[in-house]
């Protein structure tokens, strides 16, 4: 039988997470590159596409995500002070805000799909090429982001479970910090997506 000496290295765990976040930035970076090239080539079409979006829902979602980043940060501070109850409350609020974000997104997408604006539809094919590219990128980028919101919420759900089971506590919370880091990344990407998609002229 192997007797593995478990020695914990929190610095290594956080370093691993940061490295992973770099890869996420580059994953979206490829899309931002495509976005900037096609927007440079079709500035008017992109602006027209941008006007179709509902700035209000976008702004609400931005506030929702920024707030959720705050609550996740509070949960980590609370963990440092050993306040388990506050940790669980804050994680709960964060996950709730994630769901609010997704519900908004659902209505936003649903509305567009309802009047036939989705990749492959007849309306979509009739759009000027630049506007088609805009909406394709809109669906692709916000869709990939929404996928990250879902994954992030699931991760935070696990974190809450571990906190509940006392597997994460005031002396061992690197995992919670990593979950928080991932959530901040989800927030950060949206902060770039919102102006690039909703606020262009």
């Amino acid at each position: 039988m192997s007797t593995h000496v478990e020695h914990r290295d929190d610095t290594a765990r956080k370093m691993g997470m940061w490295l992973f976040l770099f890869t996420e930035l580059l994953l979206f970076g490829g899309l931002f590159l495509v976005y900037s090239i096609y927007r440079f080539a079709n500035p008017e079409d992109f602006a027209r596409g941008g006007h179709e979006l509902n700035v209000f829902i976008g702004a609400v979602n931005t506030i929702v995500l920024i707030t959720s980043s705050l609550t996740v940060a509070i949960s980590i501070s609370a963990m440092q002070q050993g306040n388990k109850k506050l940790v669980l409350q804050m994680l709960g609020i964060t996950i709730f805000l994630a769901i609010v974000f997704l519900v908004n997104k659902y209505f936003e997408w649903g509305h567009k799909i309802h009047y036939d604006l989705y990749p492959g539809s007849n309306l979509f094919r009739a759009l000027p090429p630049g506007e088609g590219l805009y909406f394709l990128l809109y669906y692709f980028m916000t869709g990939l982001h929404a996928l990250h919101v879902i994954i992030g919420a699931i991760i935070l759900g696990f974190m809450a479970w571990y906190v509940h089971k006392d597997e994460i506590d005031a002396t061992n919370y690197a995992l919670l910090e990593n979950g928080g880091l991932y959530w901040h990344l989800v927030d950060l990407i949206w902060i770039f997506l919102f102006p690039l998609m909703y606020l262009i002229h």
Partner: protein, 537 residues
Amino acid sequence: MIEQEEKQKPLNFFQDSGGKKGILAWITSTDHKRIGLLYLYSLSVFFLVGVTLGLLMRLELINPGKDIVEAQTYNGFFTLHGVIMIFLFVIPGIPAVFGNIAMPLMLGARDVAFPKLNLLSWYLYIFGAALALSTLLVGKGAPDTGWTFYAPYSIKTGTNVTMAVFAAFILGFSSILTGLNFLTTIHRMRCEGMTWFRMPLFAWALYATSWIQLLATPVIGITLLMIAAERTLGVGLFDPTLGGDPILYQHLFWIYSHPAVYIMILPGMGVISEILPVFARRRIFGYTAIVYSSLAIAFIGYFVWGHHMFTSGMSGPARIIFSILTFLVAIPSAIKVFNWLATLYKGSIDLKPPMLFALGFIFLFLIGGLTGLVSGALATTVHLHDTYFVVGHFHYVMFGGTGFAFFAAIHYWFPKIYGRMYDIKAATRNFWIIFGGFNVLYFPMLWAGMMGMPRRYYDYLPEFHIPNIISTLGSWIVAFGIIMMIITLVKGFRNGKPVGKNPWNALTLEWQADSPPITENFEELPVVTEGPYEYKS
């Protein structure tokens, strides 16, 4: 008393199954040596599939016109040959097998930083590989786009491109996680006294490689997802009739795939830097220069992708800049070669099989590197683009370089892994067969390319007949050599002579561990007081 001592001796990693039986003891193990071997065995199988496809292609090309397969089948052959060799063998090859097995030992560590993640990487690798191979069997057959999946054809073709693209995406994810794991391991797990500049050069090479894996692979990931989205939704991301730009696809593809070339070659260079000092009994010449040249290759490698597109439409200034940057990469590569040669100078050279493969690497990589400059120069590339010259060039680099480094590594670390020695005489003979066959196989490609024979066709004009016959002959010699090599190694594994800890008298830390190493690698973690190559000759 003796019995008690034997009991206290920890089990080696073959004996210690972690309390599980049969195959489970392997596929659920988080031991870096077991995972390394899982990679070695699975990768070898895929390598043989790739070799078989290569052989079939060469057989088809023995005469002009149709010989054994239809054009469409041939297109599938060269696509899968590329996908398998690049994504399943060359990219994961040395890091996943020897990085996993040897690197933690060389650092004086007990394992990698994230053992479970390490196992997950292997599962992703197997899943991606299964997906890639199943494109052969289902739907409308193997993709026929070439391994580069160039748009717009990759969007229009009816073959299994989406599946192959997903396979490459998953394999990329596996590669990212391995890179992440190695970076953290190198930062955090070096043993006491091992400062950055006392680290073996193989670990340095893996360090540079891991950064590329981490920072380049996501770009190909998202690009391949775009291809998949295009194929399912048909919306014109890369389709000029719908406003898209197929050249943009090429840019995105090569932004990853050129740095990936250095993912393929840097670990090989690291292996050579390990082997030369051991078998020349000399301190490596220019340790620091080799370290910085690895980092420089990794860095400059990001800025040369445009040289794959000199003929696909790029502005004059862009072409000149990319050409200059391409020449710049040759500098750190040449620094390495000169340092290797200087290491050999006045050394007492021992031509054991690992050393032969290492020297073979230098010779073949030199030809590969120089033909690379010919392809990277603007004036000559117009003539040579998409000819067999390019095919010859990258096989000299990828097979002559990375492939030979892989063979060198297996012959070098074999006694450490299995605790037995293969038949040195047979291995030496195998080297000469493979090395000779290699040149018979690929040199005529350079020649045919210079004459203008285009790549990726199952047919050719009669004037290219002679180089093609020679090349096909060479392919048989290489295949024979590889089979002989496998036989020799398997024989060595079964009933080779047991060896002690350090059959090559090397100074890096893995040779202080038992052969095979115990599960925890070292009973007591080593402490390092000097550099890894202080040979007193």
